[in-house]
């Protein structure tokens, strides 16, 4: 996956950790934006307003 199979040892491990880190940062930013846009509406809906 992601073409890192050809790497070996530490480079492969570093790439795996790097991919997880990048995904985490993207998800943080993506869900952050989603929360800002949809958060108030969801809160209002839960409050029954």
């Amino acid at each position: 996956m992601f073409g890192i199979e050809s790497l070996s040892g530490s480079a492969y491990a570093g790439a795996m950790v790097g991919i997880v880190l990048v995904e985490a940062l993207l998800l943080y930013v993506g869900y952050g934006a989603l929360t800002r846009f949809a958060g108030p509406s969801v809160k209002d809906a839960l409050r029954g307003e």
């Binding site: 996956m1 992601f2 040892g9 530490s10 492969y12 491990a13 570093g14 795996m16 950790v17 991919i19 997880v20 880190l21 995904e23 985490a24 940062l25 998800l27 943080y28 869900y31 952050g32 929360t35 809160k43 839960l46 409050r47 029954g48």
Partner: protein, 338 residues
Amino acid sequence: MSLGMIALFVGFGLLVGILFGFFGMGGSFLVTPALLILGYKSTVAVGSGMAFVFGTSVIATLKHRDLGQVDYKLGVLMIVGTATGIEVGKEIVLHLQEMGLAGSIISAVYVLLLGGIGALVTYESISGGDGGTLEHDVDENADLDEEEIPEIAQKIQSYRIPPMISLRGGITVSLWMILLVAFATGLLSGFLGVGGGFIRMPALFYLVGVPVPIAVGTDLFEIIFSGGIGSFLYAQAGGVNLGIVIPLLAGSALGARLGSAATSIVDEDEIKVYFGVMLLLGSVAVAIKEIGGAYDIEILRTASIVVILGAAVLVAGAVVYSSVQSLRTPAPATSTAD
């Protein structure tokens, strides 16, 4: 990988993320058994679980940072003390292994520790004991009232051996006391072979006197390092499966956001009750598993996994339910008296 499996991992990630964001713990001890049930090799289950915990802790730490709930200075000091403690803990385990006593002693300590902390936290929350009134939205510059700090923490803070370190929440503690607490939690972590979130978070609150939200945020910050190093080591041995980690993380990122947001909504005592109940159920699960292993009763091993996963579903559900209830409860009316 089928769409069904991806959906399963995303859903399970959501559940674990809520607990992780809320308590600052509960990642690997839920994910690893679940992956083992699904038939993955133990190296893949542990390695992928660790990579997942690494990713989740990055996201949850960033969220806690946004709320001003991470004390980096304390985090770095804790990493130093914990790393030393883990090394000593590992040495003790190796020594016990040579004597053939490691398995039984570790299990007994695990059950006693989980059960003990769980009982203490639950009792204090129910009885409204020490430190039951801390606010979640912590003002970095606000000082805590003396009665809000647990007695043991007050005692530890009273040892004013220089250099003294100022921490978030307006508390000042001796550097040596922080390192001592970090070493002790690291020792237990290394001895038990666990990440140690369930030990460090209560230790930061009960022993150092750090407010619960900052204890959670700082603990998560520390897990980034332990999870990152652990993932790297397992990935070198081919133990990290991105097909598992990526969907799990996608679900847990949303869950962690909900979980850490809930810490600012739900009542402090409720948080501690959930935490205590989860630890108590965890100790029951470990005890059942050990008895199953000792007498070779397969159904008890399965029952222990059901108890752990059941506790996770129950507690995550309770967190969501309490958050929704808190949102639906109207805020007290502002006085309009002259």
